[in-house]
């Protein structure tokens, strides 16, 4: 593991994640260590039920850690106030919106919530950040449309624009490519890559599109039954990490193409 350097934005040490009730502690994954660098695109992959969502929920502060630490900009997650956290970390979730009756502009402008006054009035600065977010995601033309009129792919872009408008150093996305066709899966992930390059933001997403992630990510976090690895994709391939990701009876990882093939 590389030692912590000045570009580290998120640092996870000896983290245990899972659920805790009064009596029972259900550990889903433990001894997780990784560091995320500023301006990187990071893909989080692993089999179903391995704890990707739990890890993300822990990182965004929805779920308490069982043990270990998460540091955001050298500050412990649990000591960061909600408003402070909202200015450093924004999210895109898979859960559906409660109301799709807002216009795209209204929805994206909700990203300015941590910065606006008590009634939520948008300043000129807020407006220019919102417009910039719409432009970055290339949805200026959707600005006045209602969210219920949008396709899944368009809605995903709107949600990404909303996270951008929140103006945070990190954006975390939970499976941003579900419900999308092949083209839009690639489109969204390519867009995320472009955003890290153009804005210097750190973007962490969970996904089942392992082959796309290998091609686009700077770093990948691979969750497996007993351990979690965080490395550059080429090193992960070299070390044969993907070959042990799934049971071998149906699919096998092809090192040459960097993708999974159905075994004959």
């Amino acid at each position: 593991m590389p030692k912590s350097n000045s570009n580290t934005i998120l640092q996870v040490q000896q983290l245990s994640i899972g659920y805790k009730t009064k009596k029972v502690e259900t550990v889903i994954a433990s001894a997780i260590n990784f560091e995320l660098q500023q301006g990187h695109l990071i893909g989080l992959v692993g089999a179903n039920g391995i704890g990707k969502s739990t890890l993300l929920r822990t990182l965004i502060g929805v779920q308490p850690t069982l043990s270990g630490t998460v540091e955001l900009n050298q500050q412990l997650l649990e000591t960061t106030s909600p408003v402070e956290l909202a200015k450093q970390l924004s999210i895109v979730l898979t859960e559906p919106l409660i109301s799709k009756n807002l216009s795209v502009f209204e929805l994206v402008s909700l990203g300015r919530h941590p910065y606006t006054n008590w009634i939520g009035n948008l300043s000129d600065n807020d407006l220019s950040i919102i417009n910039n977010a719409l432009q970055l995601v290339n949805i200026m033309d959707l600005k006045n449309r209602r969210c219920y009129e949008l396709s899944d792919g368009q809605l995903q872009k709107v949600m990404i624009a909303r996270a951008l408008a929140q103006d945070t150093a990190i954006i975390i996305l939970d499976e941003p490519t579900t419900h999308l066709d092949m083209y839009h899966k690639a489109y969204i992930l390519k867009l995320l890559q472009k955003l890290t390059k153009e804005t210097g933001k750190t973007i962490l997403f969970s996904s089942h599109e392992i082959d796309l992630a290998i091609q686009l990510c700077d770093t990948m976090i691979v969750m497996q039954q007993d351990h979690v690895v965080c490395e550059q994709p080429c090193n992960l391939i070299k070390n044969g990490v993907f070959e042990t990701l799934f049971p071998k009876d149906l699919i096998a990882f092809d090192n040459n193409t960097g993708s999974f093939k159905v075994t004959q």
Binding site: E84, L97, I119
Partner: protein, 346 residues
């Protein structure tokens, strides 16, 4: 309010029309009744003094307080209904989902129906108008306290909804038991309270009503920002730095203040709180609370004024139960809007 309205210029016309409509309904409401007073005289009576002394007394002592009451009841119920529908993400929620009206009903039922148990002279003392207002306030306040106490312990917003319904069931059951042991007159009196009434409020009573109502409305306006964040869902709202517990508390508290006092002074008026938010969303086609709050305020007041004008049956001595009129007039409108647009706005 003007700051809220100026948010969106394309809504400005709608708001100007609504405000004009509100003023028209207000004057019409005062003008119509068992004795009708010409519009010009109503306006004169409101701003200076009318030439006709009887009309002036009718206007200032009876009809003006009633019209103001109608505005507060309609707007208050509409706004508290909107708050509950957004908080519980449930289009079936209304101001009374938390059991506030059942609490008030229980208080009133104990005073009216339970008076037999206290016996003779004491009973007649109990059933004055103030005792009913106080009993209703106490009843809704106690239910409010229980719901707030429970809600601070519970993380899931939906559980609070169920608990509110349970409180409602318990109080309804107690009322049934009390009714079983009551005389016919007592039952009739209780049922009459249940019809709701906008009249018979003195200026002092209106002032008390207004004080609590204004506090509730202020808290609602202050909640507009968090209500909009809640439209994204709890997790998104939290990620925006919103404290779910605090904003939930403020929203429930505001609703309870408004719905509690409305029930205390005007009886359990059921329909407005559920219907007005839907009506407003269908017409304004938005779920942005900075638009919805003032719009619901205006629609609630207008619909209540119209319903009251109908309920007092112009040029007759009859006054129909306001609770029946609100549903008779309002329900077809909501059905028509939903059928016409084929899509529920939420």
């Amino acid at each position: 309010m003007s700051a809220l309205i100026s948010m969106k210029s394309n809504y400005t016309y709608s708001f100007i029309i609504l405000i004009a409509l509100l003023l028209l309904c207000f004057v019409a409401n005062i003008s119509l009744g068992s004795i009708s007073i010409p519009f010009s005289e109503v306006v004169k009576g409101l701003f200076s003094s009318s030439d006709n002394a009887t009309w002036e007394i009718i206007i200032t002592k009876v009809r003006l307080p009633k019209a103001i009451n109608a505005v507060m009841v309609g707007s208050g119920l509409g706004i508290s209904g909107l708050l509950m529908q957004t908080l519980f993400r449930n289009p079936l929620a209304g101001p009374f989902v938390l059991g506030i009206s059942s609490g008030a009903s229980l208080g009133v039922a104990i005073v009216i129906l339970g008076s037999g148990l206290f016996g003779g002279l004491f009973a007649t003392l109990l059933i004055s108008k103030w005792s009913i207002v106080i009993a209703a306030s106490l009843g809704s306040f106690l239910v409010l306290l229980s719901v707030l106490a429970v809600s601070s312990k519970i993380r899931d917003t939906m559980a609070i909804l169920i608990i509110g319904l349970m409180f409602g069931s318990i109080t309804a059951a107690v009322v049934s038991v009390l009714s079983y042991f009551s005389s016919a007159e007592q039952l009739q009196q209780y049922i009459f309270w249940g019809f709701g009434s906008l009249g018979n409020l003195s200026w002092e009573e209106l002032l008390i009503f207004f004080g609590i109502y204004a506090l509730g409305i202020t808290l609602s306006i202050a909640s507009a920002k968090s209500l909009n964040a809640l439209l994204l869902g709890d997790n998104y709202a939290k990620s925006l730095g919103l404290s779910l517990k605090t904003s939930r508390f403020v929203i429930i508290f505001a609703t309870s203040l408004i719905a509690g006092t409305v029930t205390a002074f005007a009886g359990p008026i059921a329909f407005i709180g559920l219907a007005i938010p839907h009506l407003t969303r269908q017409i304004f086609k938005t779920s942005n609370h900075k638009i919805l709050l003032p719009a619901v305020f205006l629609f609630g007041a207008i619909v209540m004024l119209i319903c009251d004008s109908i309920a007092q049956v112009p040029a007759s001595d009859y006054t129909l139960p306001i609770n029946a009129i609100t549903a008779l007039v309002g329900a077809p409108v909501v059905i028509w809007l939903l059928v016409k647009q084929r899509k529920m706005m939420f």
